[in-house]
Symmetry: C2
Subunit: 325 residues, 2 copies
């Protein structure tokens, strides 16, 4: 892409950037670098699973966010999409748009990105850097044995609805950050870190593949995402509010708002999934929280909230929609 | 990604966008849509080849560019990367960042994108839309028989250097656009269209796969990109200036600048490639232009420009570098 690219400026820029993004990649697949494209050989018993996402400064993260956390939020949330499919992370591409070449920023960003990537055994295999308002687009690729990917649509009536961990913490952490939080108690730090550095449930996802009937990751909020799964499966999700797990830091610091954050907070990147009764031992092994049950749909309703067995809300929810996925 | 996403606004926005990007995809691979990821089964005799690129308003295209041309420039240049590898386009993802929901803009953009995609048999299989300064990131995926991808690095001493078509037109077209061109002679329109709607040489690339030793697409300028190929192959490119083809519109409208545009213009998305002497019939069949020869490297030099057999320039060029590819 040449238009407006000042050749001299570009040379310095891109040599600099290249230095920070040229670490050796270790991938289960063969790859050619330095060419116009990456090349990938996929084992014949595996399917490739992929997802693309952009985060924009001021829209998906506050402008004050440190580069290391821009990296962990971008890659953490992207890997969560792979986890939702039961896929094993393999490699990813990065399209990075930067307003200016700030070597300190790029160094922190790239170090954090590589460190986070190495924790999940995923390699950076290609990319593009452009000048413009700060935005990070990642496309993550994972592998899954053929015909074994977890979908949103496989839940069956009678399946338990489970959560990988309590939700709502990230929303609470964001609230703290937006109020100018920089340091504080351990509880506060726990919550803030849940926003800054989400933990994609990659390992659990591998276990779920053979057991769960359906799975989704919680990016838009627990209710909203479970409703997606219910609708895709043609069922109604019946959720018991008293079963919604709340973390101790959340309950202690936001006692009034905790349940609301847990139900509608978003940015959690936990997994919600449907387990048949026969998979009870898995739930026990991982200490998973059952929060409800999938039932046959009642008319148009796809979700029902119960408190001590009584319906407190019974409506269709409309979530935050991405096109094409 | 939930932060700052106003739920009500998002609903309207994303339903609208979904409408324009939900056409049925026809791909050689199996794909699940509506889930967190797309799923892809790749024929066991094929490699997957992919490339990610971002274009940003004001940086890679003028702000006045119509949405239909933003689409053709983004996809045309991306497909050119696949052509450079000898790959057959298969599917792509789109990460679109828009400052506001402008239905007229989105309609034109999506119609143009689908029309251009259908010409090259490539399907849109997933994406993300975000709010922010206008930018388009595409990741294109193609298939190539295993171990048959064209690389930059395979040229051999004695190979002819060929071009798929004259270069420099896109640069001339851009010059016209930057001077405010809206309509004019056929010559002018030809040049402008070469900038607005590049023609990736996808069909030629399939033919080249079995014949060419190395290939690259010209995005940064003929000299710069041939120098990349020479360096990757450990050779020196010897270019005969009098063999550089110039289009009639370019020669007529920019007689003084034509050669400079052809050598350094960029945005051409033609292919430059190395053909061994034995492949002469292919060159004849496609009417290809031989512009030089690869020779053993002389010290640090990777390129040599000749005019009537005399060296007029002999230096290392540094091109516009993308990291990681």
């Amino acid at each position: 892409m040449k238009y407006m690219a000042d050749r001299k400026e570009s040379l310095g820029e891109f040599e600099l950037i290249q230095r920070y993004f040229s670490k050796q990649s270790v991938s289960s697949v063969s790859l050619a670098q330095g060419d116009d494209c990456a090349i990938l050989d996929i084992p014949s018993d595996q399917s490739l699973v992929f997802s693309i996402d952009t985060i924009v400064e001021g829209r998906h993260f506050p402008s004050s966010l440190k580069p290391e956390h821009v990296a962990t939020r971008a890659l953490g949330s992207a890997l969560s999409d792979l986890a939702a499919m039961g896929a094993k992370p393999d490699h990813f591409t990065l399209a990075l748009t930067l307003p200016a070449i700030d070597e300190v920023w790029i160094k922190s960003f790239s170090e954090s990105l590589y460190e986070f990537a190495s924790r999940f055994n995923i390699s950076l295999v290609g990319g593009d850097t452009t000048k413009g308002p700060l935005a990070v687009t990642l496309q993550v690729h994972g592998l899954v044995p053929k015909n074994e990917a977890l979908l949103r649509s496989g839940a069956e009536a009678g399946d338990g609805i489970y959560l990988s961990a309590p939700t709502g913490d990230a929303k609470a952490g964001l609230e703290l950050l937006l109020k100018g939080w920089t340091e504080g108690s351990d509880d506060e730090e726990n919550l803030v870190n849940r926003f800054l550095s989400p933990t994609p449930r990659v390992e659990l996802a591998q276990q779920l593949r053979a057991k769960a009937n359906a799975c989704i990751d919680i990016s838009d909020g627990l209710i909203s995402d479970i409703e997606h799964m219910a609708r895709a499966s043609g069922l109604m999700a019946s959720i018991n509010l008293e079963s919604i797990p709340l973390s101790l830091p959340l309950s202690r610091l936001f006692p009034e708002q905790a349940l609301g954050f847990a139900l509608q907070g978003g940015d959690d990147y936990e997994l919600a999934f449907a387990l048949p009764r026969s998979a009870g031992s898995l739930a026990e092994k991982f200490g998973l929280n059952q929060i409800g049950t999938f039932e046959a749909a009642e008319g148009e309703s796809t979700i029902k909230l119960l408190e001590r067995g009584k319906v407190v809300a019974h409506q269709q929810f409309e979530g935050f929609q991405h096109f094409g996925k």
